[in-house]
């Protein structure tokens, strides 16, 4: 076969073809790694907020006193944030594959690396309170954020199953007037209720109430929990 080197070198010279600058490759590689880090960060934030919102629902706090644990557990999963976490996990996986040498790892290893990173970083963000601050920020700035992402709105809007939550309008000898999350006003008899954690039963305070419907608009409370805060952890912390 005739040597083609001469032909190729001539073409390169004639068309003034030059090697692309090294910086361009460094920039491309850095960008891919930057995207990967960003995906891991967003995935971790998603996971951290999922943990935070799940804990807010107080499912774990009521674990010994409820009999519909599985149903409640499913309701308490912050689906939207969990989906976002999974999306970032998937994008992170694609990203890692395109990093230099990323293809050398098997799909299983890449997923494992991503999942571990998200769990470790997410737990860390949750522990240092970033998830709580971010959630508060989103709730304040994104319309209907809480209703669509916070599982408390699902878990504690089921009076027929014994779960209501809302704002205390007034308090009269063992009866709370409570406006629930859907705007309905209840007379809550809390004479036999166990008042948990930081619930102080003040007017305008938001609380979660577990119990049963006695009559139209009348609810008998067994447990009263604060709306904010992670029941069991805060109880241990403050009592």
């Amino acid at each position: 076969m005739a040597r083609i080197s001469k032909k190729i070198l001539e073409k390169i010279e004639k068309e003034s073809i030059k090697p692309i600058g090294k910086w361009s490759f460094i920039l491309k590689d850095s960008f891919i790694w930057f995207l990967f880090v960003l995906n891991m960060l967003f995935g971790s934030i998603g996971f951290a907020i999922s943990i935070y919102l799940f804990e807010l629902s107080d499912v774990l706090n009521l674990i010994l006193s409820i009999n519909d644990l599985i149903q409640l557990f499913i309701l308490a999963i912050p689906v939207l944030w969990l989906i976002l976490t999974l999306i970032f996990l998937f994008i992170g996986y694609i990203n890692l594959k395109y990093t230099s040498g990323g293809y050398r790892y098997s799909i299983f290893k890449i997923f494992l690396i991503n999942i571990l990173l998200i769990i470790i970083l997410g737990t860390l963000l949750s522990k240092i309170g970033v998830s709580e601050r971010l959630n508060t920020f989103f709730a304040a700035n994104i319309p209907s954020y809480e209703q669509s992402t916070d599982p408390r709105y699902t878990v504690w809007s089921r009076p027929e199953d014994g779960y209501i939550a809302g704002e205390i309008l007034s308090i009269e000898s063992n009866i709370l007037k409570l406006q629930d999350l859907e705007g309905k006003v209840w007379n809550v008899d809390y004479s036999d209720a166990y008042i948990r954690g930081l619930a102080t039963l003040d007017i305008k305070e938001r609380v979660k109430v577990r119990g049963s419907i006695e009559d139209e608009g009348i609810f008998r409370a067994k447990d009263i929990l604060p709306w904010e805060g992670r029941g069991r952890h805060l109880q241990q912390k403050y009592h």
Binding site: S5, L9, R104, S106
Partner: protein, 194 residues
């Protein structure tokens, strides 16, 4: 023709050294071209079964693309894998552009090497066999065909194939095993004279 001095230079220097020299002086690039043109031409023809003219056009694009991206070559990996990767991409892109379907062109070696594992040097290859193998190869899924060619014809290690195809070593291994089984099945089903 290369002069004696040029041949010595071609033999003495490693790929990485020639790459460094090329970045300073374009003329050194001919050592890379001379070193890889036959191998890559054969590889392209085996993988996508194109005419020699088409293969040469693809090869030219491979070397030009490689030159353009020379700064992107990472010396942690072998240069050979890097340039084969470019050849792989160019071959696939050629097929896509032409919307071409692979047709066999008579590479009997693959059958001999894969099915018997013996050296092909002394094998007598009949024209009949050649035609059949051509047909069988075109029936084999490209992902298996390519990995078998890299392993049995280019004598590449699993990690090199992994670098060329951008897939994990575990996947290379399973592609080779599955490819071998599928090729044997094709021989059993369609092979009349082989």
């Amino acid at each position: 023709m290369l002069s004696k001095k040029e041949i010595k230079k071609n033999i003495e220097y490693t790929d990485i050294e020639i790459v460094e020299m090329t970045l300073k002086d374009l003329n050194s690039y001919k050592y890379i071209i001379d070193r890889y043109e036959s191998k890559l031409l054969r590889y392209i023809q085996r993988v996508i079964f194109v005419s020699k003219e088409d293969a040469e056009d693809i090869l030219q694009e491979v070397f030009i693309k490689a030159y353009r991206n020379l700064n992107g070559y990472d010396s942690k990996y072998s240069f050979s894998s890097w340039i084969y990767r470019i050849a792989h991409n160019e071959a696939i892109s050629f097929l896509r552009k032409k919307k071409k379907v692979v047709e066999g062109n008579g590479d009997i070696e693959i059958f001999e090497r894969i099915s018997s594992g013996e050296d092909i040097e002394d094998d007598f290859i009949s024209e009949l066999k050649r035609k059949e193998v051509r047909g069988l190869l075109s029936k084999l899924d490209p992902k298996y065909r390519e990995v078998l060619i890299l392993r049995y014809f280019e004598d590449m290690e699993y990690n090199e194939i992994s670098d060329i195809l951008h897939t994990s070593i575990g996947n290379v291994s399973s592609l080779i095993n599955r490819g071998k089984s599928k090729f044997k099945m094709l021989i059993e089903r369609y092979g009349k004279n082989i």
